[in-house]
């Protein structure tokens, strides 16, 4: 059934190439996404066997798969409305690229072979480049060029990392294999210097894709220039996928008994990401670039969470879900605001709540959620991560994280409040809220709110199983 999950979106993408009607082609997106989500849920609940040598699901990938699939469905519904008002740009490229992007992300999530996973992550880069270039202007071409070049270099480094890990198993009598299960079994006997170097290259490579500082430089440009729904998919979906790839490396390192070194590297990059994000978010005049730096910040939090281990890892797993949905809601509403004001800069955007009552309010709610205010989900997950840091006696790190979070809150608050509050200028609004364009962010925010108030028993258990995979095995 897993094969179907990967091939189905591709089949719909092929179908979209021959469908002549514009509106029908747009509706193919939800038609591809809804069964994908249904099937994912069935697979996650173990209705079908889903464990193979090449592709398979474990607790970690189940978590990322469902999150990505829900996010994509929301963005697909939004896309129908968005493409309807963007008839000038057409949807002949957007629809198939989005579906192939979904397929590549799914493959990257379920892959249990490092080479296959690498191939899938590479495919996501290629499939998303035309999406970033959607607007066809000078700024979007600049963003696409940076995205392609930096991510290609990153992905090449990840490949070197995988080769190093493969080389580290050469000394063992068994044949060289990149299957995750085989690697985890043979990890204690691997050649340590090669494994360490391999992990570092893997971290740098997939870290570029995930947007950890100092390899985040493509992020503000790409997120800023891409349409809101593409930003939502990149910030919520693709980053989670890249994070999963890094976690695979961490799993191997932990199995080899070198988890401590891997965690230190993650901690360093996580703290640096928080610092960089905090610096660039203060007085940031562009709402989409602001969201991009916020994404860098939350990638940093994820890295810090898993680097601490214990309860912080659990918090990081929860934060992965919260981040995906909150960022989804934020980027989609930011897209609406940009459409209404014809700009994403603070010099033009003012009084978004008056101009767009629903999108503006959701955007403000999203800001409160992402900065960790109760009663939203990220509050719970950030609090858990912080508790994990303080209970493991890392007072300095904990204080630093708190400080950066406070700076981010103030910086982001200044921009978001002046964008949403006040009176809009006298320029006539070009766009008003319409159901297809606010239903998805509304659902995302409701989900984040529910997670913040009550975490169902089954989700709790799933998170614990995922976190347990990253701990030292007895």
């Amino acid at each position: 059934m897993l094969e179907l999950l990967i091939t189905y979106p591709v089949a719909i993408a092929a179908l979209s190439l021959i469908v002549p009607r514009y509106q029908v082609r747009s509706w193919l997106l939800p038609l591809g996404a809804a069964p994908h989500l249904g099937l994912s849920i069935l697979l996650v609940c173990d209705y079908f066997p889903s464990y193979g040598n090449w592709i398979g699901l474990d607790a970690l990938s189940k978590l990322v798969l469902v999150t990505t699939s829900i996010l994509f469905l929301g963005c697909a519904i939004y896309a129908v409305g968005y493409l309807d008002i963007r008839r000038d740009r057409g949807n002949k490229v957007m629809v198939p690229c989005l579906l192939i992007f979904l397929s590549a992300m799914t493959l990257a999530i379920v892959a249990r072979h490092l080479g296959l996973m690498w191939f899938a992550v590479e495919a996501t880069t290629i499939a998303s480049a035309p999406l970033i270039y959607f607007n066809f202007n000078r700024l979007s071409i600049e963003a696409t060029w940076k995205y392609l070049l930096i991510c290609s270099v990153g992905i090449a480094l990840a490949m070197l990392g995988i080769m190093f890990i493969a080389y580290s198993t050469l000394g063992i009598a068994a044949p060289v294999s990149l299957h995750l299960d085989a690697l985890l079994r043979s990890a204690p006997k691997m050649s340590q210097p090669w494994l360490h170097a391999g992990f570092i290259f893997l971290l740098v490579g997939f870290g570029t894709k995930m947007g950890l500082a100092p390899l985040h430089t493509w992020k503000p440009d790409a997120y800023g220039e891409a349409p809101g729904l593409v930003g939502a998919l990149l910030a919520g979906g693709l980053t989670s996928v890249a994070f999963l790839a890094i976690l695979r490396g961490l799993q191997i390192m932990t199995a080899a008994g070198d988890g401590a070194m891997a965690r230190q590297a993650l901690l360093g990059m996580g703290l640096l990401s928080l610092l960089i994000a905090a610096i660039f978010m203060v007085r940031q005049p562009d709402i989409k670039r602001l969201l991009a730096y916020s994404s860098v910040e939350h990638m940093g939090l994820l890295a810090i969470g898993v680097s601490m281990g214990g309860i912080a890892t659990f918090g990081a797993m929860l934060h992965l879900i919260n981040n995906a949905f909150t960022k989804g809601g934020l980027f989609l509403t930011a897209g609406n605001i940009q459409r209404s004001f014809g700009s994403k800069s603070l010099s033009e955007v003012r009084g978004a709540i008056v101009a767009l009552p629903i999108s503006g309010t959701l955007f403000l709610m999203g800001f409160l959620a992402i900065t960790g205010s109760p009663p939203f989900g990220p509050f719970i997950s950030e609090f858990t991560i912080l508790r994990g840091i303080f209970t493991s006696d890392n007072i300095v790190i904990g204080t630093l994280v708190l400080l950066f979070l406070a700076v981010v809150f103030i910086g982001m608050g200044a921009t978001v409040l002046s964008a949403t509050q006040g009176e809009p200028g006298d320029k006539p609004a070009q766009f008003f809220d319409r159901p297809l364009l606010y239903i998805s962010p509304l659902c995302f925010m409701v989900m984040v709110l529910i997670i913040g108030i009550y975490i169902p028993e089954s989700l709790q258990a799933a998170l614990q199983r995922a976190a347990a995979l990253l701990e030292v095995q007895p």
């Binding site: 071409i141 060029w145 392609l148 090449a156 050649s191 220039e225």
Partner: protein, 212 residues
């Protein structure tokens, strides 16, 4: 094995320096093509004349030695550029940096023990040095085409290391390195074409509207 491979690898390192120090784009593309052709000899020199290494050599020669350089040469002929103007960092400083990174690669490679008949080969330091030279080219030059060239050298470096693994993991290395390269260069080519049409130049310094 080492008496055959090491001269090839040393020539690869010399070519790195040439690209770092030269302003003429055409010449740079040609020597990178030569580097690709030298790399095609590497599987043969490392693993001997087997069917598998012949196949790998053929693929490498066709792609790295002929096809991609030809595409790049055609691109610079179309947009009529010959020289790199004002790199972000001068040629002499880049050369010095190149020398430093090469020395660093040799030191770093000492910490990585080679297995069996690989020992004594210069594969690892050359791979790292070539990657770093490509990386330097990427970050110090303004022309989009030189950046593509840097990416190409980065991939060459990874290929040099991949040769060590090509016996242990047949197909994996070939599929990875060659596919990656072909697809990436293809997509970059399309974007390059767009940049040219939009800005009437392929200088990436014009691509500077997006910054803080």
């Amino acid at each position: 094995m080492t008496e055959l491979t090491n001269p090839i690898l040393l020539m690869v390192i010399l070519i790195n320096y040439f690209t770092l120090g030269s302003a003429r784009l055409g010449a740079c593309i040609r020597v990178v093509a030569l580097q690709g052709a030298l790399l095609a000899l590497l599987p043969l020199a490392t693993h001997g004349l087997t069917g598998h290494s012949l196949m790998l050599a053929g693929g490498t020669l066709a792609l790295k030695g002929i096809l991609i350089p030809w595409l790049l040469l055609r691109a610079i002929r179309e947009v009529r550029i010959r020289r790199e103007i004002e790199p972000l960092v001068g040629y002499v400083p880049t050369l010095i940096l190149g020398a430093l990174t090469t020395a660093g690669s040799f030191i770093f490679a000492d910490f990585l023990p080679l297995f069996g008949h690989h020992s004594g080969g210069l594969h690892v330091p050359t791979a790292l040095a070539t990657m770093l030279a490509g990386f330097l080219l990427l970050i110090t030059r303004r022309k989009a085409i030189t950046q593509v060239l840097g990416y190409l050298m980065l991939e060459n470096g990874i290929f040099i290391f991949g040769v060590l693994l090509s016996e242990a993991m047949p197909l994996m290395v070939e599929a990875g390195v060659l596919l990656d390269l072909l697809v990436a260069i293809f997509v970059m080519g399309i974007v390059l074409n767009r940049i040219n049409r939009e800005f009437s130049t392929i200088n990436t310094e014009r691509l500077s509207a997006l910054k803080e």
